[in-house]
Structures are given as structure tokens and as C-alpha cells.
């Protein structure tokens, strides 16, 4: 434990401050070819035909690939975990977002590659796109996916569900029902190092892949699956990443570079331009969160109904995982005994979305905290006191029936109040995380409280009122 409290130099600090850290784009391999992508100019279209003959004949062009060149075209990062995938590496018959890669080219220079990519002739048949996650769920919305408008694989359901207590009774008992809709928007990660990889075919028949991935083993598995190669033939080199923030888990360039390198038998590099990074790299998802809370006049949260629509963009990628995290956090830092959460991963014709710092959680935190202020306003109650009263305490159970044994809501809220000089009544200032008792354990919170000493998931969920899906 000697590192705790000590000033330990960064292991990469000296290399960073002397300009010697080697990022993927700094690796120099003789004879490296440049990659450029042929990207869909349409948000939604059928592909009638792709003609690469002209591009292949251009000077300096070494390889052109389309979906037909990919041994296993549809694969996803979560597939190894049993979550079915939907995204082709290269578009096959249809494009579902503006910027989707239809073909890729490797050539002697960046300019030659771009010229060849421009020369690939693709005939499209435009289809009606959908951009808004709420209207995508309308019955008459255009169908953009063979699964329909939502990603359908959440165990036995087509969406993520949380059920706890008797939410209908909570609403029947409520003095007030507070409703709100919250729509945090997409955010681009903007790493200063754009997506980049360099794939070198080795004399041994293996591939060395220099990559900026944040998820080395994910990327290795994904490349191997698309190629239908054993992992033993891939050597991935990474670890020095010029900013990721979640956006570099997607294995954006490695597989396409690998296919081009195999076809050309030359080292192949692909570095997104800044424009590509903005237009075609994945973003944090936009979300649509509808919250209905059953509230008592004295400021208790009796029940919550939540409908979340997670705008996945054109393909699911990590969205089922992000939505699941969102579901776990949908009561925020507060204890609500009766909840019903329904969350859908919805397809739109936008760029596919992915992880970003606090994946799935920041959206629901924003919604919950705005909603708490709205409740306080409608009750005429102090918003900090509303939070402290309903704050998670030791022995409380979350919506997913995780038992709290060290919740920090009260301490953090009081510290925040102190930091800004916020005045609170004495009974609030003296609060702590201790188990609910007395006035803080009204009748409606008794059933959700775990017996003393219960930890984490050891608590029997059937003890609360109602069942689980």
C-alpha cells in the first residue's frame, strides 16, 4: 500500500513530456498503404449494385473490399456473451446510416486511396429514414431493421424490465403524480487522436495489429471472428491511446485494415480524418426518458414508472449493455419501494451509438435529478431536503433489490450543501447513512428494507412485495 498517498510518477510520464510516446500513427513500417472508405451518402437506402472495377484498375491501388470479401460479416462485441449482433462490417444490400462503410480501398498514398474510393460506383435506392427515437416507435414509422424498431433480445423480453413492489397501488395512494420527459442528446467523444490502426502481415502468416482500441481483448475477438481466424494468428499491439473516453471500444478500423492487408499482402493503415471522426465515429447515445412518480404530500417517493428509449442509432453495438446499466441506476441515489421500469433499445438512421464515460448512467442521472427538482417545486418543498429524506440508507434495497451497505447519498448531499453554503434544517443536517428507523421508516418503506446484516445480492427478493422478471 505504499503507493496510496505517495506521489508516484506516471509510468508513461517521461515519454509523454519528451514527445517520445509512440501512438499508432507514429509507427513507421516501410511500404505501408493508406486506407479510405466508401461511405454511404444516404441515411437509409437499398444497395442496388457495387462496381469496384474502375477503382481496382487505378494507379497505386492494391486492394478493394466489399461485403463479399468478409468471411463472417455480421458480428458484434457482445456476441461472445450471448447477445446477438446485427451489424455488418461492410454494408450488405442496405445502408442504414449516412457514413456506413460500403467498401474500402488500400492504395500507395492517402490521395490515391481517396481517388479510388471516389471511383467505386454504388447504386442506391433511397428509403425513408427515421431520426427521432420517439417517432421511431410510432406504428407507422418506417421499418429500418429486420427486427423492427427495437432490439429484441433481453432474455425472454424485447426490452429491459425492472419490477419491484406494487407500483399500481403506490400510484393509487399518491397525493401527487409528477411527470417529466428528459432528452439528453448525443455527444461526440472527440479524442485528439482519431480512430487509427496499422495492420502488418508477418512472414509467419500472422497479423500484427497496432491499434488505438480501449478494449484489446474485445478487439482481438472481433477481428478473429470476422476473419474466421484463430486468436493465435493475431498479435495486437496497443495501450498508448490518444484519448478514448469510451469511443474506442468499437474496433472501428482494425478489421477492415486486416482484410485489406491480407488481400494486398502489404502493411495497411487507416486513420480517420477529423471530419470522419465527427460524422462517422460513434457517439454517446441520445436518450428519451419518461418518468412518472407517485409522491406523498410530505415528500416521500412512493413509486416510479419509467419508460426509456435508448437511441441506438442504426445498429445495436453496446446499447443493450448501456441500457441495462441505465436500468440499474434508474432510481438514482434515492430509495423508491415500488418501481416499474421499461427500457427499449430503439433503432434510428443515425450513426450507431456506443459507450462514453458513465455509459448509460449519466442520462438517467440527469433525468432523475431534474425530476427531483420538479417534484420539490410541485410540492413546495426544499429540493435538498426532498433528496435527503429519500436518500439511500444502509439496509435499503435498490430497484434491482441490491442491498445498500455503504450508501453515500446523505454524506455527499450534506457536503455539497456545505460547499455552497446551503441552509438546511437541523433534522436534515444531522442525517447520516444509518438504517431507517422512526420517522424515516414509514409504513411504505418497511417491506423494502433488508434485515440487518444482509449484504449485496444475498437478500431474498421474494421478501419484498411483488416478483421480478
Amino acid at each position: 500500500m505504499k503507493a496510496v498517498g505517495a506521489r508516484v510518477p506516471r509510468y508513461d510520464g517521461l515519454a509523454h513530456v519528451t514527445g517520445r510516446s509512440q501512438y499508432v500513427d507514429d509507427v513507421r513500417v516501410h511500404g505501408t498503404l493508406w486506407t479510405k472508405a466508401v461511405r454511404s451518402p444516404h441515411h437509409h437506402a437499398g444497395i442496388v449494385s457495387i462496381d469496384t472495377a474502375k477503382a481496382e484498375g487505378m494507379p497505386g491501388v492494391h486492394a478493394v473490399i466489399t461485403a463479399a470479401d468478409v468471411p463472417h460479416n455480421v458480428y458484434g462485441h457482445l456476441e461472445a456473451l450471448g447477445v446477438p449482433a446485427d451489424e455488418p462490417l461492410l454494408a450488405d444490400g442496405e445502408v442504414r446510416w449516412k457514413g456506413q462503410v460500403v467498401a474500402a480501398v488500400a492504395a500507395d498514398s492517402e490521395v490515391a486511396a481517396q481517388a479510388a474510393a471516389d471511383a467505386v460506383e454504388v447504386v442506391y435506392e433511397e428509403r425513408e429514414p427515421v431520426f427521432d427515437v420517439r417517432t421511431a416507435c410510432d406504428p407507422d414509422a418506417p421499418s429500418i431493421h429486420h427486427w423492427g424498431s427495437v432490439y429484441p433480445h433481453f432474455g425472454p423480453h424485447n426490452h429491459r424490465r425492472v419490477r419491484k413492489g406494487d407500483v399500481d397501488r403506490a400510484f393509487a395512494d399518491a397525493d401527487l403524480i409528477v411527470e417529466g420527459v428528459y432528452r439528453p442528446q448525443a455527444i461526440e467523444h472527440v479524442p485528439l487522436e482519431t480512430q487509427v490502426s496499422l495492420v502488418v502481415p508477418e512472414p509467419s502468416g500472422r497479423l500484427t495489429i497496432y491499434t488505438c482500441t480501449q478494449a484489446m481483448y474485445f478487439s482481438m475477438g472481433v477481428v478473429a471472428a470476422h476473419l474466421e481466424w484463430p486468436l493465435s494468428k493475431l498479435k495486437l499491439v496497443g495501450g498508448t491511446v490518444g484519448g478514448g473516453f469510451g469511443g474506442k471500444v468499437d474496433t472501428a478500423t482494425e478489421t477492415i485494415c486486416a482484410l485489406l492487408a491480407i488481400k494486398a499482402q502489404r502493411p495497411v493503415k487507416w486513420r480517420f480524418t477529423r471530419e470522419e471522426e465527427f460524422l462517422a465515429s460513434s457517439t454517446r447515445a441520445p436518450w428519451h426518458v419518461e418518468i412518472q412518480d407517485a409522491v406523498s404530500q410530505d415528500g416521500w417517493l412512493l413509486g416510479r414508472r419509467t419508460l426509456t428509449l435508448h437511441d441506438s442509432g442504426a445498429y445495436s453495438r453496446f446499447s443493450p449493455y448501456g441500457l441495462t446499466k441505465h436500468a440499474f441506476h434508474h432510481t438514482g441515489a434515492y430509495t423508491i419501494p415500488n418501481v416499474r421500469f421499461d427500457g427499449f433499445v430503439v433503432f434510428t438512421n443515425r450513426v450507431p451509438t456506443t459507450a462514453m464515460r458513465g455509459f448509460g448512467v449519466t442520462s438517467v442521472s440527469l433525468a432523475v435529478e431534474l425530476h427531483m427538482d420538479r417534484i420539490a417545486e410541485q410540492l413546495g418543498m426544499d429540493p435538498m431536503e426532498l433528496r435527503l429524506k429519500n436518500a439511500n440508507r444502509i439496509g435499503d434495497t435498490t430497484g434491482n433489490r441490491v442491498v445498500m451497505h455503504d450508501p453515500s447519498t446523505v454524506a455527499v448531499t450534506l457536503a455539497a450543501a456545505d460547499a455552497v453554503g446551503y441552509e438546511l434544517g437541523d433534522e436534515y443536517r444531522q442525517m447520516s447513512a444509518q438504517r431507517r428507523a422512526g420517522e424515516l421508516l414509514p409504513e411504505h418503506l418497511v417491506a423494502q428494507q433488508a434485515p440487518e446484516g444482509e449484504h449485496l445480492a444475498t437478500y431474498d427478493p421474494t421478501r419484498t412485495n411483488g416478483g421480478t422478471d
Partner: protein, 175 residues
């Protein structure tokens, strides 16, 4: 074209409209200036041209005949850091490191004029993006370096846990 980079004179063959960034990275293999946006918007390619900070992605080679260029590679070495480098290291002013070379070169030019306040540093470095958002530590480092605080000695003395005695096994979770 003759170009001096970090004190070494080069004959450069790139066409005259090639941006200096490309000449450095692709012809001379000097890779500390980064191609972050290639349109002057991020600062990661900043180098010194005759002592003044410039976006190398915006400078055409043709305008640089006989110029003297400095990059992060020329400031100091891991064994002998320049004051700005030492301050960045000491103050943990590099996170992912991709923007660091650009910040270093702009800071190097800035502190030649003597001590700067945080506000002056923020204004002078305002065109540089650190997407890890490490600006507080960067400003700490730049102001410290401008005040002549020699951070190098302290960094050298503080190498963290060393030797077998220092390596304590991590106890079991409930141990």
C-alpha cells in the same frame, strides 16, 4: 529546400505546398507533432518556427526556406528534461499525452518572456485542446515553469515504490 529541425539541417524533398506537419512526420519521421485535426483547430501539431509557436499543419513548406524548427524531441531528454518538460512531469500535466507536445512548444515560447499568471497562460494557450480536460494541471505546470521552479530534481527523487521490500502483496478482499 533547407530546413533546420532541432538543430539538424535537412534537405527536404516534399513538394512546396506540403504542410510542415507532413514534412516532419512523413519525410523526417519526427512524430511528436500530432495530426489531430489538420486544420489548425486542436493545437496538437504546434512547433516553434524561428522561436515562435506555429500550427505546423497550416504552414506550407514553401514559406519556410532556411527556417529553424523546434519540436518536443529537441527540448530535452528523459534523462535531462527542459524546465517546461520537468514542470509538466512534476505536475502530472500529461494524461493521454496526445496534446502534450503542442502544449509544451507553446509553453516553451511563452515562458521566454518571463513569469506568467494563470490568466496569461490560459489566454496564450487558448487554442490548444486537451480532451482529457487536464487544463488545471497544465496551467499549474506552465506557471511553475515560467517562475523558474526547477521541478526536475523533485521528480528524480520521487520514483515511487522501489525494491523488493516495497512490494507489499495486495491483501485479500476481506483479509
Amino acid at each position: 529546400m533547407r530546413l533546420t529541425v532541432n538543430g539538424t539541417e535537412h534537405d527536404v524533398l516534399s513538394p512546396p505546398l506540403t504542410p510542415l506537419l507532413h514534412v516532419l512526420r512523413e519525410e523526417l519521421m519526427i512524430t511528436s507533432p500530432k495530426a489531430g485535426c489538420q486544420q489548425g483547430g486542436c493545437g496538437a501539431c504546434t512547433v516553434l518556427v524561428d522561436g515562435e509557436p506555429r500550427r505546423s499543419c497550416l504552414e506550407p513548406l514553401a514559406a519556410l526556406e532556411g527556417a529553424s524548427i523546434a519540436t518536443a524531441e529537441g527540448l530535452g531528454t528523459p534523462e535531462d528534461l527542459s524546465p517546461v518538460q520537468a514542470a509538466f512531469h512534476e505536475h502530472y500535466a500529461a494524461q493521454c499525452g496526445f496534446c502534450t507536445s503542442g502544449f509544451l512548444m507553446a509553453a516553451e515560447a511563452l515562458i521566454q518572456h518571463g513569469p506568467v499568471t494563470r490568466e496569461q497562460a490560459a489566454e496564450a494557450l487558448g487554442g490548444h485542446v486537451c480532451r482529457c480536460t487536464g487544463y488545471v494541471k497544465i496551467l499549474d505546470a506552465v506557471t511553475a515553469a515560467s517562475n523558474g521552479e526547477d521541478a526536475a530534481g523533485r521528480v528524480e527523487a520521487d520514483q515511487g515504490p522501489q525494491g523488493e521490500d516495497s512490494v507489499t502483496p495486495i491483501p485479500g478482499r476481506w483479509g
